[in-house]
């Protein structure tokens, strides 16, 4: 008898049959292939953004307003200054509205509401808010702030629409972090005689802060890329305008307008603006990840 191979002799009946082994290999290959396929679009989007967008980046691209003339030569169409400033301003105001309210609601859910019936209702409505399509937020704000007041588009109305969109994201992520804070921490503070509000402001919130920053930054990144809620709330304009009470340009709306243009130079401006927008959003994502890695809680 020759030297036994590992799967011969009395152990042969434990061996995986060739058919099963083939099936296993095939399935694993398919799963791996699907994973690769999932990453292809990301690579392609990044590649095209860089190859088309970098070409239109220049100092004058970032520092001049778009002009209305799109049918003349490339140098006369202008850049995206008003769009960048508008996006920064609209998103800043939206954050100023959504972050305090969102964290307030999350604190209420975790510290006061807990598992009460009313808290369940609030959680349900936050979930509802999460699922609302972004364009419907635009319609809401249009009805209330434009039809309702009889006035026209304005930057701050766009901020309200984006704030509605950010709210559920902020509430959910803050709630997740607040739930992680050990009850022992709250109980020790209470046992030392601290009133509830001091426990919240001096113990709970500072402990949760780094974790909450992550969720907040991701919410901001999400809002910055939204076009639909801004279309009929902040509208679009060419001129740089720092007054939130008037029409205001923004990067997503500028891109959306430029996509439909028949002029190549204008489409190239859309690529440049898209690269700018994605760079801003990725930066926020990166900061969020760095902070979440350093935070002990999340």
């Amino acid at each position: 008898m020759s030297a036994p191979t590992p799967m011969s002799g009395q152990f042969a009946r434990f061996a995986v049959s060739p058919a099963r082994r083939r099936k296993d290999k095939l399935a694993r290959a398919a799963i791996t292939a699907c994973t690769v396929i999932a990453l292809i679009p990301l690579g392609l989007v990044v590649y095209y953004l860089l190859s088309k967008g970098l070409g239109s980046w220049s100092w004058s691209f970032l520092s001049t307003d778009p002009t209305g003339n799109t049918f003349f030569k490339a140098s006369s169409i202008g850049g995206i200054k008003s769009a960048i400033l508008g996006t920064v301003e609209i998103v800043a105001l939206a954050s100023a509205i959504a972050i305090p309210i969102g964290i307030g609601v999350a604190v209420w859910l975790v510290e006061y509401g807990r598992a009460s019936g009313f808290a369940k209702v609030v959680r349900f409505f936050v979930d509802v808010l999460t699922g609302v399509p972004s364009i419907v937020f635009g319609l809401f704000i249009y009805i209330v702030l434009i039809v309702g007041t009889g006035s026209s588009y304005a930057g701050y109305k766009g901020s309200f629409a984006l704030a509605l969109l950010m709210l559920p994201v902020v509430i959910r992520s803050a709630e997740v972090i607040l739930l992680l804070i050990p009850d022992a921490l709250r109980e020790s503070a209470l046992a030392l005689g601290a009133p509830r509000w001091r426990v919240i402001f001096s113990i709970v919130l500072p402990t949760a802060l780094p974790g909450m920053v992550t969720g907040v930054l991701l919410a901001i990144a999400r809002a910055a890329g939204e076009t639909a809620p801004l279309l009929f709330t902040a509208a679009a304009t060419d001129k740089t305008n720092l007054n939130l009470g008037q029409f205001m340009n923004s990067l997503p709306v500028q891109i959306y307008k430029d996509v439909t243009s028949p002029t190549t130079a204008v489409v190239n401006r859309a690529w440049g603006a898209a690269l700018t927008l994605v760079a801003m959003i990725l930066l926020l994502n990166l900061i969020a990840r760095l902070i979440s890695r350093r935070s002990r809680l999340a």
């Binding site: 791996t32 609601v105 209420w108 808010l129 699922g131 399509p133 319609l139 009805i143 997503p252 959306y256």
Partner: protein, 341 residues
């Protein structure tokens, strides 16, 4: 004898004075009011939206508005069937293409991937969610759609015997491209939720399967997938909700043709796209019809998301806390929560 007498009058020594309790009360009631305001706001928005949509519903009836196949702005005819069908076709395609790939990605990350690659893979998939909708639209119309057109034409010619695939000429913007873009856009959320649910499969079950001699794939099929089925279906439904409501990318790549597309590779319209595209110039009944389209969209996403939430929360913790599917939290889960939001 009670040595801890009451020097300050008739209240216990450890109790706070009414004045000192004031900030506590203010905070408690203030925050409660804040939470209540959110409910009030949503209900108020909903009522106002219904009010704005009423003229269009009165014109054709709720049923007529939703299911009449005639969207003709100049003729003042508003039957939203082409829009509803466009929304359903594109989001159905997105599920068909996106969910298997997303689940496979989650399986790969959880079961097959070398441990060192797992974090990087997760981040990369989540980056797909960081690309704004309008950028997907831009990329879709200038890169994906033109590159795909010959392939689509080939399929359309070969498979023309199947109804709705058609042998007609393929347009650059069409239902299929919109569905494909949507598939890419829902991939991160479906994958994140699948991964979360797969992480709850007890190691015992997996080890038991392997111990009985199962191969990796048999272990996945017999221990992992059955355990996660409800959660994966819920994640897919959340993705569906996303796809139904997605606006700008679809508006750019679907072609915005107001008729019912004749085949998969023809131009069409969707509920969200019609609002984005026509709202700026709409007046009177037309505007009301767009509000009504928004309302139909809102109700549709509400239903889909409601079912999804129930499935996901049942799957991720059968008996634990009442809060969202994120009760058990580990590193990176905030990102998951946000992607899921």
């Amino acid at each position: 004898m009670n040595t801890a007498a009451m020097p300050g009058g008739d209240r216990p020594i450890l109790a706070r004075s009414p004045l000192a309790r004031l900030p506590d009360r203010a905070l408690k009631y203030g925050l409660t009011i804040l939470a209540a305001l959110i409910l009030a706001l949503i209900v108020y928005f909903f009522v106002r939206l219904v009010g704005q949509a009423r003229p269009a519903f009165a014109h054709a009836g709720v049923f007529g508005f939703t299911f009449n196949n005639d969207w003709n702005v100049s003729g003042e005819k508003f039957g939203a069937l082409p829009l509803v069908v466009g929304t359903l076709i594109t989001s159905g395609l997105a599920l068909l293409i996106g969910v298997p790939i997303a689940v496979a990605t989650a399986l790969y990350a959880n079961e097959l991937c070398p441990l060192r690659l797992r974090a990087a893979l997760t981040v990369l998939v989540e980056l797909l969610a960081a690309v704004p909708s309008v950028v997907y639209g831009l990329w879709g119309i200038f890169f994906l759609a033109p590159k795909l057109q010959p392939v689509e034409q080939w399929f359309a010619n070969r498979l023309s015997f199947i109804p709705f695939i058609g042998g007609d000429s393929v347009t650059i913007p069409n239902y299929f491209v919109a569905g494909l873009i949507l598939a890419i856009m829902i991939l991160p959320i479906v994958s994140a939720i699948s991964r979360e649910v797969m992480a709850t499969v007890p190691a015992d079950h997996k080890e038991a399967a392997l111990g009985l001699g199962a191969t990796r794939w048999e272990m996945i099929r017999t221990a992992v997938l059955p355990y996660c089925r409800a959660g994966i279906v819920g994640g897919a439904m959340l993705g569906l909700g996303r796809a139904i409501g997605e606006t700008i990318a679809v508006t750019i790549v679907i072609g915005d043709a107001p008729g019912l597309g004749k085949h998969l590779f023809g131009q069409g319209y969707s509920l969200a796209a019609v609002i984005a595209n026509e709202f700026g110039e709409a007046q009177g009944l037309h505007r009301s019809a767009l509000f009504a389209a928004g309302l139909v969209l809102f109700v549709l996403t509400l239903l889909v998301n409601g079912v999804a939430r129930v499935l996901v929360s049942r799957a991720s913790h059968p008996s634990k806390t009442p809060s969202a599917p994120q009760a058990a939290v580990g590193p990176g889960q905030v990102a998951g929560a946000v992607a899921g939001a």
